[in-house]
């Protein structure tokens, strides 16, 4: 009996080892970028390449941030992702509150419309949206990539489902005590919805940080480029400067990597929010 148990235990340890090994192998494209980014540029051209940098250096990062202007792009990306997420949290939660807690003419229609817009990806409307933004003077402006994607239908849907579970009695008794409707939303509904708001904040920040098509259509000047746009432009040049490019790639992926590793539970379990990209 003990030997059978022992056998099973060893089997499990073996399986764990194998799957971890395969996962590391799967991640080779990322690992290779990270390792290469610490190699001095001369070492990048040496054949055969060594796995680890022989003389690890931060020179590539230095040149990406200063010469390559990636400090500006990083700030632009942070600004865009943060502002767009804040706007999404405010407008989505307001809409979700009305859809969950009020009866009004047009509610069903509005809810269906919200669901339907999930079906309209940016890829389909990129030509007319460029013209709309141009008419509003929002092309080549960071606000042109902050405001339009903020009305995420996924966010409205997620928050509404969550707010439905907040009992109406709480709202009624607040009204008895003379609370205004805005006060109810701001002081009762929002604090109670923090878990759902946190989920939306994480996903929204990830989506906006990784956005490429928005800035690709909207932003033309170099100073206003986001990391994704700057990276794609750099790789499209003739005679790609890989040493700068690799460091810039790591700068671009690092915030997402940190967010993911700290909050991986949200990504690996929360399918309601994750199943639709917004």
């Amino acid at each position: 009996m003990t030997t059978a148990n022992q056998k099973r235990r060893w089997g499990r340890i073996l399986r764990d080892g194998v799957v971890i090994g395969l996962a590391i192998l799967f991640l080779v494209p990322v690992i290779w970028v990270v390792l290469s980014s610490f190699k001095p540029s001369a070492e990048l051209y040496v054949l055969p390449p060594t796995l680890l940098p022989k003389e690890p250096t931060l020179a590539n990062y230095q040149s990406a941030l200063t010469v390559g202007n990636f400090a500006t792009y990083t700030w632009n990306s942070f600004f865009v992702a943060t502002m767009s997420t804040l706007i999404a949290l405010l407008t989505n939660s307001m809409a979700a509150f009305a859809l969950a807690k009020y009866r009004f003419v047009g509610r069903e229609g509005l809810f269906l419309l919200t669901l339907a817009t999930i079906m309209i990806p940016l890829q389909v409307i990129m030509v007319p949206i460029f013209l709309v933004l141009r008419n509003m003077g929002l092309t080549d402006s960071l606000w042109g990539i902050i405001i339009p994607p903020a009305a995420t239908p996924t966010g409205v849907f997620l928050l509404r489902q969550y707010m439905l579970s907040i009992p109406d009695e709480i709202l009624e008794s607040a009204r008895m005590d003379g609370a205004s409707e805005w006060g109810i939303y701001w002081r009762i509904i929002l604090p109670l919805s923090v878990p759902a708001l946190a989920t939306l904040a994480i996903f929204s920040f990830t989506w906006r940080w990784n956005d490429f098509i928005w800035p690709f259509i909207v932003i033309s000047s170099e100073q206003k480029a986001t990391l994704q746009l700057a990276l794609a432009r750099l790789v499209g040049q003739f005679g790609v400067d890989w040493s700068t490019l690799l460091a810039a790639t790591v700068i671009t992926l690092l915030p997402m990597l940190i967010v993911f590793l700290l909050l991986q539970r949200y990504f690996l379990s929360n399918l309601t929010a994750g199943s639709v990209k917004g």
């Binding site: 991640l27 290779w32 390449p49 030509v127 239908p153 794609a232 790789v235 399918l271």
Partner: protein, 288 residues
Amino acid sequence: MGHRLGKLLTPYFFVAPNTLIFGIFVLLPMVYGLIYSFYRGNFISGLQQFVGLENYRKLLHDQAFLSSLLHTLVYVFLVVLLVVALSLALALALRATSLGTSLARIGFYLPVILSPVVVGVAWRWMFSSDLGVINALLSSLGQSPVPWLTDINWARAVVILASVWSMAGFYMVIFIGGLNTIPAELYQAAEVDGANPRQQFWQITLPLLAPTTLLVTILATINAFKAFEIILVLTNGGPGDATRLLVQNIYLTAFEGANPTYASAQSVVLFAILMLLTLVQMRVSRER
């Protein structure tokens, strides 16, 4: 009286900001796009002439459009096939919960959170013909280097593999969710009846997982039809137009070819395909 009116308007006040953004930046462009597709025009002077279905008729004989459509169909078919197979295999291997499988799940999911641009750069760095580590490995094994991104067929293969790599972890999680809904008693009963693991897979797992498999297939198909960024960075649609897909063709038609109305007609075709797939998906999820 004013108080009553205020109360009546409260919900509209709350939905207004979100609806306004929706309306201006999603619905309006959608309607505009549809209207443009029946016109001739450009970015400078706007719509010039109503031409009815001419743009759509032109599509039927447009070599660039038809070849991008064909490339997209082949790409979608192969990507979806590989994504479903890989994510199902990963889910089966990692369905048990232990420290090892949890860590492995994190590893296989990680590419999903990377931006498509980063995915493109990482794969281009590995498969670059002169500096890429793959060719370096090949030459150290005495093999001749392969022109991964400049040969038509190899470029297509690399583009497909990079896409599969970036998507598989996402669907793995959906498959694990599906596997967890299969009652453990079924497997115990099957074991008592002497069914081996292979029989258990074909007789229990696969049939009971069918709804999840269908959902994954449809979601992956929708996503594959929207592919653009990874390929833009990896091959820029090349060599020639070998890896140019629908979305890139729309972009090129509109912005490089300065023909927004003709590009709009192509967008409408893409939208019709996505709409059809979404309707199938809604049907399927309702039946679950």
